[in-house]
């Protein structure tokens, strides 16, 4: 009980990172099972194993879960655990705010998934296009769960973004200049900027939808002069930067993994950094390529065709940087390295099909077909997830103090790679043959049954890979070989401290002189003299606090009460939240006399 309490009240970035990871892992299996049910339903043409209504709920929740409850929070798990260690900090800038982000994310996700238990899971797809989501066309509570659940989860992302920007700007150890930061920290930095700017846009889109549904507003009601296209603009104005929110952390991870296992510094470090920053910027100017079929006109279309093709350039630059890093290196094919190389190969296929439908006339043919489904799974599963797998195997020894089982890891990799390609490559064909996405069943005359069956087989192989992964995790965490501080012989600061790290990370802060402090013999000795030392007196760390979980509960309650549609009812939740925020503000994080404002 005491142990559970210590996790509930923890403000330690490492524990919060582990909680983020385990929660997103749980949702990875939830979203995966949803996908497998979809694949079973699509096994045969004109099959009706499950109802069309249930099918709608499954693909909606699969998409929403995988984006907002798996890919994003699993990256945030790594932000949490790894970034403070990489920059030589003892924690994030606002430890309690960090705990708040986690609890809000958890409660929002649970709230949305609770819809399953009342049989009304969201059913209007993860993009929730207006005016399908209006009361007129979706009278049930399905969309209510979606709009409120997403709004709650969004708060966590904004707070997390603020926290990591501040952490990286302010808590770098002495000498850790921006251009000496490891690439994963850099990409976390860029991602955080995209988070704090993109999430408010979808927040407003969702608020407008909530007002339409609960207070009879007219934002997406055509009869009253509202315009459903506004939703598409706002959603994709968030939605395309979101794509880079998903992929940049994985790019960062493999930019650390590939040099470590090639025994070479990253080729063209500044170029990789600038390419990442550029992707973050240009990512804001491509959103309407999701809307070529909505009739924006040739000038708007041309602009977005051009910007979309341009953004492929910095991405391609990174691919060549990774290849050049491996070139001439002494490569060790560990599981982490295999997944990184897998990303480079498979993501490139997804990138190329992306350039194909960057062209508006081509996109008109491919829009809303399985070709698009193939494309974005290649970049999100083949890119984002491969990167997360690589990061998992790379940092597993740091987190647990034990080595991951390489044999099981390689089985995981090959099953994932084969299953993944068997699952998604045939979708290019079913799409080109004209199979629309989000379709509950398909006509036998379409001749796409074979492609669908290959996909379903691939899906189950990918599912098996996930089971091997989980098994490896449990087994290695219990009985893996002890890791030691730097089992991979890697270059960056997180490998200069014991595995697992002390709760204070660094007894005193190291001084950094280069990008690869552990690869320069003299610098390594100086750094490790500080980082591996036993302190006479442990550094004072912020104390546990239960206010973050209460504020998160209050915020969730407030939003959930909006569902009543009575304007003053949510205010009761707001009053509770306000009370909890007050108590938080007057709690001294270091536990001496009261003093406000330590974050």
């Amino acid at each position: 009980m005491t142990n559970l309490w210590s996790w509930i009240t923890t403000v330690d970035h490492k524990r919060i990172g582990v909680m983020y990871f385990l929660t997103s892992l749980f949702f990875f299996f939830v979203g995966g099972i949803e996908a497998l049910v979809i694949r079973v339903q699509l096994w045969k043409a004109e099959q009706a194993l499950i109802s069309a209504e249930l099918y709608n709920q499954l693909f909606t929740m699969h998409g929403t879960t995988m984006v907002f409850m798996v890919a994003m929070p699993m990256a945030v798990a790594f932000f949490n655990y790894v970034v403070p260690l990489q920059i030589g900090a003892r924690d994030v800038a606002f430890p309690r705010l960090n705990a708040l982000s986690y609890w809000i994310f958890l409660f929002g996700s649970l709230f949305m998934n609770a819809s399953w238990f009342v049989g009304s899971a969201p059913n209007t797809s993860w993009v929730g296009y207006a005016n399908l989501t209006s009361l007129q066309f979706s009278p049930g509570p399905n969309v209510d769960f979606w709009v409120i659940g997403l709004s709650i989860v969004g708060i966590a992302s904004i707070l997390g973004g603020v926290n990591f920007i501040t952490t990286i700007v302010n808590l770098r150890a002495p000498g850790m200049k921006f251009m000496r930061m490891p690439l994963f920290t850099w990409m976390t930095f860029v991602t955080s900027f995209v988070l704090v700017t993109a999430i408010p846009v979808i927040a407003v889109a969702l608020i407008l939808l909530a007002f339409d549904r609960f207070f009879d507003a007219n934002f997406y009601v055509t009869a009253a002069g509202g315009d459903p296209i506004l939703w598409q603009h706002l959603f994709w104005l968030f939605g395309h930067p979101e794509v880079y929110i998903l992929i940049l952390p994985s790019f960062g991870m493999i930019s650390d993994v590939i040099p470590a296992f090639s025994r070479k510094p990253l080729f063209g470090y500044p170029v990789v950094v600038y390419a990442g920053v550029l992707i973050g910027f240009i990512g804001w100017g491509v959103w309407s390529h999701h809307m070529f079929t909505s009739g924006l006109g040739p000038i708007a279309d041309s602009f977005f065709v051009a910007s979309t093709m341009i953004i492929a350039i910095p991405t391609g630059v990174k691919i060549f940087n990774w290849l050049a890093t491996m070139w001439g290196g002494s490569i060790r094919f560990t599981t982490a390295m295999l997944f990184s190389i897998g990303l480079v190969a498979v993501f490139t296929i997804g990138g190329l099909s992306g350039v194909m439908h960057a062209s508006a006339p081509v996109d008109l043919q491919q829009h809303d077909t399985y070709f698009v489904v193939a494309h974005f799974h290649y970049v999100i599963v083949g890119g984002v997830m491969m990167g997360l797998f690589a990061g998992f195997y790379y940092w597993f020894p740091k987190v647990t103090g034990r080595m991951p089982d390489e044999t099981l890891g390689k089985i995981h990799f090959w099953l994932a790679l084969i299953g993944f390609n068997l699952l998604f490559f045939p979708m290019h064909f079913s799409g080109i043959y004209g199979m629309p996405r989000r379709t509950w069943t398909y006509s036998a005359e379409l001749n796409v049954e074979l492609w669908n069956q290959l996909s379903t087989v691939g899906g189950f192989i990918f599912g098996a890979a996930a089971v091997v992964w989980a098994w490896n995790m449990i087994r290695s965490a219990r009985s893996g070989a002890p890791a030691g501080p730097n089992p991979w012989g890697a270059a960056t600061l997180e490998w200069s401290i014991p595995s697992p790290p002390h709760h204070y990370n660094f007894p005193s802060l190291p001084v950094v002189r280069t990008r690869e402090p552990l690869w320069h013999e003299e610098e390594r000795r100086e750094v490790e003299a500080v980082t591996l030392a036993e302190p006479e007196r442990e550094p004072e760390m912020p104390r546990p606090s239960f206010w973050p979980i209460l504020v998160a509960a209050g915020a969730t309650l407030t939003w959930a009460l909006v569902m009543t549609g009575i304007w003053w009812v949510p205010l009761t939740g707001l009053a509770f939240t306000g009370f909890a925020i007050f108590m938080w503000a007057f709690e001294n994080p270091f536990g001496k006399k009261a003093g406000a404002h330590h974050g």
């Binding site: 800038a93 808590l171 007219n218 404002h597």
Partner: protein
């Protein structure tokens, strides 16, 4: 390496930061950046829907520029009071701090009072959220701004209570400065809203 060594001397201090800026300030500026996008999206929505209403009341029939100019002036003056309150706290003058924080609260409340009057007057005239897209976008935009002012008034009241109890010494000036950043931000957003919605109809 002199700079790095000098920084290392302070490395074990809780207040060590790489930039020398307090983390609270960096974080709050970042948050305000996020808020810019939030209000920017709401304002854009209003602008996109300008002239789209299919039934009245329309903006030119109902928006009262002289009345709102008064409340706008009061809100702008509250920002001046905010600056003076921060100055009072920095000088360690309890009297100045309490006085000017009270002025901020009173002026903020006057602004909110005008908004309550305006809203109820509009509802009386038949303009509600469901009435037309003007009603929807007007009430949601100005309502969220009003909610921000309300949060600010509560925040300032907290600071006022602290100041009255003598718990706002110059060493706590950062708390007031951050609250001031928020207050000025909300003020600036109002200038944009007032210009785009009331003045340029």
């Amino acid at each position: 390496m002199a700079d790095a060594t000098a920084a290392a001397l302070h490395a074990d201090d809780h207040h060590y930061t790489a930039t020398g800026l307090p983390s609270w300030k960096v974080g709050f500026w970042t948050f305000l950046g996020s808020e810019c996008l939030f209000f920017g999206t709401l304002i854009s929505t209003y602008m996109v829907y300008k002239g789209s209403s299919v039934q009245g009341p329309y903006p030119h029939e109902i928006l009262n520029i002289p009345l709102t100019s008064v409340s706008t002036f009061v809100l702008l003056m509250s920002s001046l009071a905010m600056v003076l309150a921060l100055d009072g706290v920095r000088r360690g003058s309890k009297k100045l701090a309490v006085t000017w924080l009270a002025v901020v609260i009173v002026f903020g409340s006057i602004f909110l009072g005008f908004q309550v009057y305006e809203f109820s007057h509009f509802v009386h005239e038949g303009l509600t959220i469901p009435r037309n897209v003007f009603g929807s976008s007007f009430f949601v935009l100005t309502g969220f701004h009003g909610a921000h002012v309300t949060v600010g008034v509560v925040w300032m009241t907290t600071l006022l209570v602290l100041a009255l109890r003598g718990r706002l010494p110059p060493s706590k000036a950062l708390s007031v400065e951050i609250a001031g950043l928020y207050w000025h931000f909300v003020d600036i957003v109002w200038i944009v809203i007032f210009t785009l919605i009331y003045l340029i109809q």
